[in-house]
Assembly symmetry: C2
Homo-oligomer: 291 residues x 2
């Protein structure tokens, strides 16, 4: 049981964490801070936080748990804002979708207090942003990746694992580098493709007529393209090298398929579609080996 | 009320149509034919069809409604199989995802009986194929596009509209050419991208580890990549020119985003992501205008 959660950033991710932590009976008091006064008021009204603080430092004074839930590029500023409140037992986590840049930012901002920081990435989200979308069940059943540093205090890593597990998450550990490579492939690239898909439709004079005919396949395929622009701008910038490498691999596969369509090689085309279909089906049933 | 539905092809699409037609009280008897004896037996056991016929001609003898529900490249053969059963009042439809090739095939196969054919594309589907996935609700609430020919009998077009409307569909009409352009953009391209995405993962040594970290965004984005390989091979081959044109437009948008990520132009990147996000959000709420 934590005495106080200091919540820095009261949007979808932070708000959902506060709600889930409270429902699990793991926190006595939630004090929130947001750069947006409107968000902070809304978080109070929705019962996501108990108290609104006028600064990050005030939100975390006296806290034994701090969650940084801001777009990744704002992590360093947020951590600088709380550095004077850090005490030896404080568990500090983030929820950012990239980890190398967050770790670098944390080293700069926290300096000798870096051992209190456990970088965390819960693989959960929604295409609607903001505290109004906060959902007590957002993290239930989801994976959480922790990327502790050499300096991270082992007791705090254990505590972090216990917190997420108590929210119904499956927790794994890896390095920040491993995290960023993997997520570039299975999250950042799909978002990039989804954004490009919507812009490709919008770029065509008949785009709106085409959209009027789109069905449930299109709906699911492009759901992630409605994601928050500032959040995804930061993620793509922070993980640019890995993302661009993944996009090159993707374009190679796309052009291989295109060439088979263009040449009319139905046999080879079906073989590659069957490989894709099998990979997806096996993943969907929990067998994640690639053929 | 139809006396007899002759169902040629008893898979997901055809099976779902038979189930929905029966529930709507619109058909007295369903006689099915499938090239696969196993499928035909399964369709009987599941109550999707009342009788199994040993040929397409026998399934449609005496039918006043015929549905061709086979992969699009098999349409011509299926129509040749029923041509001797066609009588002046018979309504013949298909459910193919491409229309120009289907219309060409129908002209060749049906010759002077072409007026009985109303090309139809219900925009519905599932990533699981086969009669075992047949679903009485598959078409409810979905769009159906009819692409009647110059020769199509107007009374049969009206009847076709009434049938789909009775199954809960919203029916629109356009030319086969308009259909194929639009669907290349909002359906065939997303499938091509989904297949390429899965193959891009599978092509990497660490692909299976990456997949183990994929979350709900990836799940929805790649759902269509589990689609039936034979069905999608045919669709892509049949609509190759339009599909390749759409893929070129997409790649241009993708490379525009990549260039902004590579150059670190956060402002322009956020603007393009915001445009994509807005286009998707407006579509999702029924406003399909492009910004």
């Amino acid at each position: 049981m934590f005495e106080q959660l200091g919540l820095i950033g009261c949007g979808l991710m932070g708000g959902s964490f506060a709600l889930a932590l409270r429902r699990a009976g793991l926190v006595r008091r939630v004090v929130g801070y947001s750069q947006s006064a409107t968000t902070l008021q809304q978080a109070l009204q929705l019962g996501v936080i108990d108290e609104a603080a006028t600064s990050a430092e005030l939100a975390t004074a006296g806290a034994d748990l701090v969650l940084i839930a801001v777009p990744v590029a704002a992590t360093e500023e947020a951590l600088r804002g709380i550095r004077n409140s850090v005490h030896p037992e404080m568990l500090i986590m983030d929820v950012g979708s990239t980890k190398r840049d967050v770790v670098d930012a944390a080293r700069r901002a926290l300096a000798h207090r870096i051992g209190n920081f456990v970088p965390a990435h819960p693989i959960a989200g929604k295409e609607t942003a903001g505290v109004a979308s906060a959902d007590v069940n957002l993290y239930a059943g989801r994976k959480v990746i922790l990327t502790p540093l050499q300096e991270t205090r082992p007791a705090l890593v254990q505590q972090a694992e216990a917190v997420w597990a108590a929210l119904g998450c499956r927790v794994t550990q890896m390095t920040a580098e491993q995290h960023d490579s993997a997520l570039a492939c299975v999250s950042h690239l799909p978002h990039l493709l989804g954004f490009a898909m919507m812009n490709a439709v919008a770029a065509q004079p008949a785009g709106s007529q085409y959209l009027a005919l789109a069905g449930p396949g299109f709906r699911d395929f492009t759901r992630i393209a409605a994601s928050d622009p500032a959040v995804w701008r930061d993620i793509m910038m922070a993980n640019a090298d890995e993302l661009l490498a993944q996009s090159r691999i993707f374009r190679h596969q796309l052009q291989t398929l295109e060439a088979l369509v263009a040449s009319g090689d139905a046999v080879a085309l079906e073989r590659l579609i069957a490989q894709a279909s099998l990979t997806r089906t096996q993943w969907g049933t929990g067998n994640t080996s690639t053929p």
